[in-house]
Symmetry: C2
Subunit: 211 residues, 2 copies
C-alpha cells in the first residue's frame, strides 16, 4: 500500500481526533498508535503531518483557541461583554478539561491566542483601564477561568458528605448545604466561578468609577 488517492490525514484532522480521544478515554489513552487506529491508519503515518506528540498537542490547543468566541468583547457594555467572553472561554476548556494540564506552561505563540489577549486587553482599555491595569485584570480573569476549568473543585470530593463529618465538620456542613442549592453539588463549580467573576467585575467597576 502506497500513497492513497485521497489523503486520509491532515494536521487538523489528527488534532480533532486527538481531542475526541482525550475526551472519551482520558490522557493516558492518548497514544500515537491508538490515535492512528481511530483514523484508520498506522502510527507512523501521523508523523507526516505532526512533528511529534508535543506538536500534536500544540495543534489541538490551536483548535481549542479557535473555538473561543471573541465576539462578546465587542459589546459596548463592557461588563456584559467581558463576562460572556469569560464564560465562553471557560466553556471551551470545560469541554476538554484534560487539555489544560497538557497545554499549560507553554509559550503563547499561536496567533489565535495572541489575538484573544489583544482583544481582551483592548476591551478593558475601552472600559477605562490603563494599559497596565488592563494587563493585571486580564491576568486575574485568566487565572479564574483556567483554575475553574482545571480543578473542578467538586470532583475531588467523592465520598458522601456525611462521611466527612467526623474529621472535617465544616467541610461536611458546606457539602451538605451545597447539595440543596440549584444545581446541587455538581453546580458548585459553576457557582464558584460565577461568584469570582462577579466580584472581579464589581471590583473593576468600582475602580473605574472612582478614577
Amino acid at each position: 500500500m502506497g500513497r492513497p488517492s485521497q489523503p486520509l490525514l491532515s494536521r487538523a484532522i489528527i488534532a480533532r481526533a486527538a481531542l475526541e480521544l482525550l475526551n472519551e478515554e482520558g490522557p493516558d489513552a492518548l497514544k500515537m498508535r491508538s490515535l492512528a487506529d481511530r483514523l484508520g491508519v498506522r502510527g507512523a503515518s501521523l508523523y507526516h503531518h505532526v512533528a511529534s506528540k508535543d506538536d500534536l498537542l500544540d495543534a489541538a490547543s490551536e483548535l481549542l483557541n479557535e473555538e473561543i468566541d471573541l465576539g462578546p468583547l465587542q459589546d459596548p457594555q463592557w461588563r456584559r461583554g467581558i463576562a460572556e467572553y469569560a464564560r465562553g472561554y471557560r466553556r471551551v476548556y470545560l469541554q476538554h478539561p484534560h487539555m489544560i494540564a497538557l497545554v499549560a506552561r507553554r509559550r503563547v505563540e499561536a496567533d489565535r491566542a495572541l489575538i484573544g489577549y489583544d482583544a481582551l486587553l483592548a476591551a478593558l482599555v475601552g472600559a477605562g483601564c490603563t494599559p497596565a491595569g488592563a494587563a493585571e485584570a486580564a491576568a486575574a480573569l485568566d487565572y479564574l477561568v483556567l483554575g475553574s476549568a482545571l480543578e473542578t473543585f467538586t470532583a475531588g470530593f467523592t465520598r458522601a458528605p456525611a462521611d466527612y463529618r467526623p474529621d472535617y465538620p465544616a467541610l461536611a456542613d458546606s457539602l451538605e448545604s451545597t447539595g440543596t442549592r440549584p444545581g446541587g453539588l455538581a453546580g458548585l463549580d459553576d457557582r464558584g466561578f460565577e461568584l469570582g467573576l462577579r466580584f472581579l467585575l464589581d471590583g473593576l467597576a468600582a475602580q473605574l468609577a472612582q478614577a
Copy 2:
C-alpha cells in the same frame, strides 16, 4: 550487594528528591532511573517504597500540602487571615509549578488537603458566610490561586513587547506599560493575583455587610 546497613530510601526521601528534580530539570526529566541516580540507587529499588510513578506523584503532592501554612486561618481578622493563607498556598505551588499540572484533576483524599479545605471553610463561616456560600467562595479562591500558580501569564510572552505591536497593539501597549511598574513584567503575575484576591475579598466583605 544486598540490604544496606542503613536504609537509603523512604517514601518521603524519594518524594522530596522528586520535587527537587522536577524543579531543576522539569517534568520530562522526572524519570524513575534519573531519580534513582540522584539518590545513589538503582531504579527498581524505588518500587520498595512507592507503588508506581503515579503513587510517587501522590507522595510529592502530600509533601506540598503539608507545606501550606494553615495558621493564618485562625486570625480573628478574617480578611487578613484568608489573604495570608491564599498567598502562602500560592507561594508553595509557585515554588513547584510543574506539580500543578501533574496533580490537578485527581481525587482529594490526602488527609492534609481535606484539613486545609475544612479550615478554610470554617474561617469563611466564622466570617459570616453560610456554609453553602463558604463553599462557593472557597472554590473561587482556589481557582484564583491554582490558576495563577499554574499559568504564569507573563511567561507566555517571550518576545520583546514592541515585537507584538504590528499585529497586537493593545497587547504591546499593556506589556510596555507594565514594564514600568514595580516588579515590571515579571511582577505582573503577582499583581494580577493580588488584584483578583483583593476584589474577591472586597466582594465577600460587601456581601457579608449587607446580610
